[in-house]
């Protein structure tokens, strides 16, 4: 009887912990409103870079491996949205986890009466990074009227579903990468990792040759996480892509959880 109560109680407890941490984080971030403008400036500059590259490419050609100008612009919008989600929710949590393991303060996460991976994932967010999501939506909205196949409710729903799946893939990929810290102890260049991987994923993977497409779908699946919603919004989605996204998502969730558990068994603490 008590075990049933325990199982029933665990889910609401996890949700309650998540909600409390999110609320505290949001209140904390709201103290620094000027960060929003700094973030907005960064986003605008990043978007100008992306849009200029699209303009430059299409000043030379009409079609990039089947992608037309408005479609690639929409893809840049999706890339900005996924990047914003990653920088708001995933990157801060992963960065803090790595710092804690390096300094030995990760013990304080492990001693709390809640799943350590859940706590690690929700205790640090940067909501101002969501400015990227807003700008990304604006870019998609600008590109939408000129998309060759138009933009209907079906595209929007499949886009949202694949965006959620992409976020899960991105999260699992970063947890899997970050778990290396349990063995190597220091990961001093993690910020650079985030930057480089994001740059590699900025174009839809169907543009690339097969070897690079496979690499950005399986080894570093962020390319797939960005490309699949971009394909959905440009009416290019196929069942093969949907199946690939589902398979990669399940594989990376399982891999990241297995690495997390194995890593925790290796972790011995450093200072506490």
């Amino acid at each position: 009887m008590s075990s049933v109560r325990g199982e029933r109680g665990r889910i609401p407890h996890g949700i309650a912990v998540t909600a409390v941490h999110l609320r505290v984080n949001i209140l904390n971030e709201l103290q620094y409103r000027s960060n929003f403008f700094v973030q907005l400036l960064q986003t605008v500059l990043m978007t100008v870079n992306g849009v200029l590259i699209v303009a430059l490419v299409y000043s030379k050609v009409d079609d990039l491996n089947g992608w037309r100008r408005s479609e690639l612009l929409a893809a840049i919008g999706v890339f900005t949205i996924v990047g914003g989600i990653m920088r708001a929710f995933i990157q801060p949590a992963i960065t803090r986890m790595i710092e804690d393991v390096e300094e030995g303060t990760f013990d304080f996460v492990l001693t709390k009466p809640v799943d350590a991976q859940l706590l690690m994932s929700v205790r640090q967010i940067e909501i101002w990074q969501l400015a990227d999501v807003v700008v990304g939506i604006v870019i998609v909205a600008i590109a939408a009227p000129t998309l060759p196949a138009g933009l209907g409710i079906e595209e929007i729903l499949s886009f949202l579903a694949l965006l959620a799946a992409g976020a899960v893939i991105a999260y699992s990929m970063w947890v899997a990468i970050a778990c290396a810290v349990f063995w190597v102890v220091r990961m001093p260049y993690l910020d650079n990792f985030f930057f480089y991987i994001a740059r590699a994923a900025q174009f839809p993977i169907s543009i690339y040759p097969t070897w690079l497409r496979i690499g950005l779908s399986t080894i570093v699946p962020l390319g797939l996480a960005v490309s699949a919603p971009a394909q959905a919004i440009t009416s290019r989605l196929t069942w093969t892509t949907v199946a690939t996204v589902c398979a990669v998502m399940i594989a990376f969730v399982a891999l990241s959880r297995a690495l997390w558990k194995k890593g925790l068994r290796t972790y011995t603490g450093a200072s506490a």
């Binding site: 500059l45 590259i53 050609v61 990039l64 290396a180 650079n192 740059r199």
Partner: protein, 281 residues
């Protein structure tokens, strides 16, 4: 009465100690790079992935556009982005976020206690990292050469200019990052300013695309900013073809910006350090 020490001997002694410190710090950072080789190899793989993505896209554009874009063939794009990859590996030069962290957690106090300026320590550290990583990059570079078949037009003069241009680029980038980092003496979120400068650098330095492909106004902007000279110029000097006039103009521009950045760093640092007060470290 003791022996009178002549100023020339004092200077010589200081230079000798500085050289010894540089040697020691560089050796340590090289050993660290090798010690944390898993990290270094992952970072190198990702650093190579970024230009490879740009290279693949521009090669597709070149092939779609009858083999070349504004004179850039697939082979020339390969040469540009492979050289890009090596130069980027070597001239990373730290990040303002490192200074922000040192000021915030007080460890800057420890740096200031040492009998050498923190900028020297930082420079020696990043030159050491750069040498170690640029060496570890070679196998990856060889694979890129085999896959993408770069087209080089490198003369003897270019081979002489390239190391000088790269060395100055390393110094200039470190000075720029240190100057932004010194802003942490006044502002707590200086790494955000660093990211904004980084985004301007991304477009005007030739990282996203060879600058010759940019429209006229963007090229004019890149001429007026330092990033072109401290990133694209060494690459263009290596892959050629480049006339002697352009080579020396590039070197002069790079040297000019280096002096400007050094002077700005001195001013910002000397003023900023007066604002520093920290415990711990």
């Amino acid at each position: 009465m003791g022996e009178i020490v002549r100023p020339a001997r004092i200077v010589e002694g200081r230079l000798r100690s500085l050289a010894a410190v540089y040697g020691g710090v560089m050796r340590t950072s090289m050993i660290r790079t090798v010690q944390y080789r898993a990290n270094t190899l992952i970072e190198l793989a990702l650093m190579v992935a970024e230009p490879v993505v740009y290279l693949v896209v521009w090669q597709i554009v070149a092939r779609t556009n009858d083999g070349s874009v504004d004179g850039f063939t697939a082979g020339r794009f390969a040469a540009y982005f492979i050289a890009w990859s090596w130069v980027r590996t070597f001239v990373q030069g730290g990040s303002p976020g490192n200074w922000e962290r040192r000021v915030r957690d007080g460890s800057m106090a420890g740096f200031l206690m040492r009998p050498i300026h923190p900028v020297h320590q930082n420079l020696a550290l990043w030159v050491g990292f750069g040498i170690a990583r640029a060496t570890m990059w070679i196998p990856a570079g060889a694979v890129l050469v085999l896959i993408f078949r770069p087209e080089l037009h490198t003369g003897a003069l270019q081979l002489l200019v390239f190391p000088v241009a790269v060395a100055m680029a390393m110094l200039a980038r470190t000075f720029t990052q240190d100057t932004i980092g010194a802003g942490a003496f006044w502002f707590t979120r200086i790494s955000a300013i660093g990211s904004i400068v980084g985004l301007v650098e991304l477009l005007t330095s030739g990282r996203l695309v060879p600058l010759e492909l940019l429209p006229g106004w963007a090229q004019a902007v890149s001429w007026a900013l330092p990033f072109r000279w401290t990133f694209a110029f060494p690459i263009e000097a290596l892959i050629g073809p480049m006339s002697s006039g352009r080579l020396f103009t590039g070197l002069a521009m790079e040297a000019g910006w280096l002096v400007v950045m050094w002077m700005v760093l001195r001013v910002v640092w000397s003023r900023g350090i007066r604002h520093f007060s920290a415990v711990g470290g």
